[in-house]
Symmetry: C2
Subunit: 318 residues, 2 copies
């Protein structure tokens, strides 16, 4: 019972209805001080307040709720050390089924603890993509669990699209939306929601200079993988997928790059002035908003703050 075509507005609305009991309808905040600093009117969709601390709970819940009873009883599996792993473990816990999470043996303790907190069954492997995939395949072979990919899955994309659905319903007259891009799940979902509901809104992908594969892909017109990315924005290291890339290629208005210094400054400014915790990946679109680009001046801009999971013992500016 998989969506095999691009999620429709109906698919996104169904996703929204069925995940509603399990997620927060996160607030949209504004800040006079950040408006003044940016010269724009900024509307922050606060997915840092989302369950498990990131928008990933939307996609994970939608994906798990799309499984048949037979599938779901065997559990779900993924390899990730990031927010998707936490979100999937939480979704599985809600459904009272196992979540098999493959993590590299080098994963930070704080991330391991976060997955354990939601009862995820962790298998450690060598920190290579090959080891991660072969370990995951062996687990799926043995358990019959369903692989839930972090972004290259239409149910995941439809789930992530619901953040923008809520943003647009609260702020219908935005000029543009700034969205961070890693694998492209959030970005492609955001593009679909704006396409269906407010096609006049320009969606701009925001990416770290040290992980600029989306920028490269859009400029060259073909999917360029992310090779040895280097950035503080640890949620944005992955390559685009075969499902997310075509949506992005067709519809994204622009890709804007910022460097790690800008990202850290933007993050600190949000903590200091808005009194909310965001992770470095969320600070990427904020850094774009603060970059004084002419095209953003005076505009009404939605910013998706993707998450707030950060090791508080490692503050990037200290």
């Amino acid at each position: 019972m998989k969506i095999v075509n691009l999620p429709t507005l109906k698919d996104i609305q169904i996703a929204h209805e069925r995940i509603k009991p399990y997620i927060h309808q996160t607030p949209v905040l504004s800040s006079q001080q950040l408006n003044e600093k940016s010269g724009s009117r900024l509307y922050f969709k606060c997915e840092n307040f989302q369950k498990a601390g990131a928008f990933k709970s939307r996609g994970a819940m939608n994906a798990i709720l799309s499984l048949s009873e037979d599938e779901i009883n065997k559990g779900v599996a993924t390899h990730s050390s990031g927010n998707h792993a936490q979100a999937l473990a939480r979704a599985a816990k809600i459904m009272k089924v196992p979540a098999y999470i493959v993590m590299p043996s080098t994963a930070p303790k704080v991330k391991v603890a976060a997955v354990e907190q939601y009862g995820g069954k962790i298998t450690f492997c060598q920190p290579t993509l090959e080891a991660r995939e072969s370990t995951l395949n062996a687990i799926i072979e043995k358990t019959g669990a369903t692989l839930i990919h972090p972004y290259n899955d239409y149910y995941i994309i439809a789930g992530q699209a619901t953040a923008c659905l809520e943003l647009i319903s609260k702020c219908p007259d935005l000029d543009m939306i700034l969205c961070p891009v890693g694998g492209g799940g959030l970005l492609s979902g955001t593009l679909l929601s704006t396409r269906y509901l407010s096609p006049e809104i320009k969606v701009i992908a925001c990416e770290p200079e040290g992980a600029n594969d989306t920028w490269q892909s859009v400029k060259s017109g073909k999917l360029i993988p992310s090779l040895s990315p280097q950035t503080i924005a640890d949620g944005l290291l992955t390559s685009l997928g075969s499902l997310t890339w075509p949506i992005i290629k067709e519809q994204v208005h622009d890709v804007i790059l910022v460097n790690d210094q800008q990202i850290i400054e933007a993050m600190k400014l949000v903590w200091e002035r808005m009194k909310i915790i965001i992770e470095p990946s969320s600070a990427v679109p904020v850094a774009v908003a603060l970059s004084a680009r002419e095209e953003l001046k005076g505009k009404k801009i939605g910013i998706i703050l993707s998450g707030g999971n950060i090791d508080l013992n490692k503050i990037p500016w200290l």
Copy 2:
């Protein structure tokens, strides 16, 4: 045109109406994870999101709006290096009059910068109470500015009382409210609002062990000043005042002490799980809620998070 008697409900309601255009009606947040950890149901009144980052904007606005035209044109003055100084400077800026702020020469740069940001006219003095008072008196003598005391002023108390007014209107069936206490402006305001609106709510004062003058005062029945307090909660160092103490003495249900270790742990937990920035003083009632006291178990508890102003280059657990 000073209130010379205890603020009435009407005084607090008038304060609320007239400060409304200049302050945030801050949200009340809850957290499943903190509920589980505390064994209670916690409702956080987020004054860390207040204008100028703390509840102090309520009292400062109310005090400045209570002045006659002649008084207000000469400006306002205070000695403070904390949130009251910022709040008063902001209130004066809104009214387009000068705010004369006396600060000790040892005040942290970040606090000086915050007052300057709101256009406060700072005079530095030696870091003694005597120097602060004599410097302030000389300025008042010269300028005719009106002294706005940080807490020992009925307009300030009525202004601070509006935070509890909003909390009770959103959560009418609380069993108790946990409130930090320094000079007692917020606490006495909270006591008045509960007395008038929901006298069945028990208000508990929360205080650092290293600045336990309210605890001592309540136990002994007489106002004991705060002598060489030592705590991370830098907003709670001052003594009670002649106006705040009688209200506290008459009505406070209890005073509960927590140590700096508990305060820092509570603060980190709120940052980590709720993704919001609170300052150490705000973490004092959270630490009380997490202290597993029998009388709090299963109760519906309001917690006033008093502010979010902290030097992000000095994180207490690092």
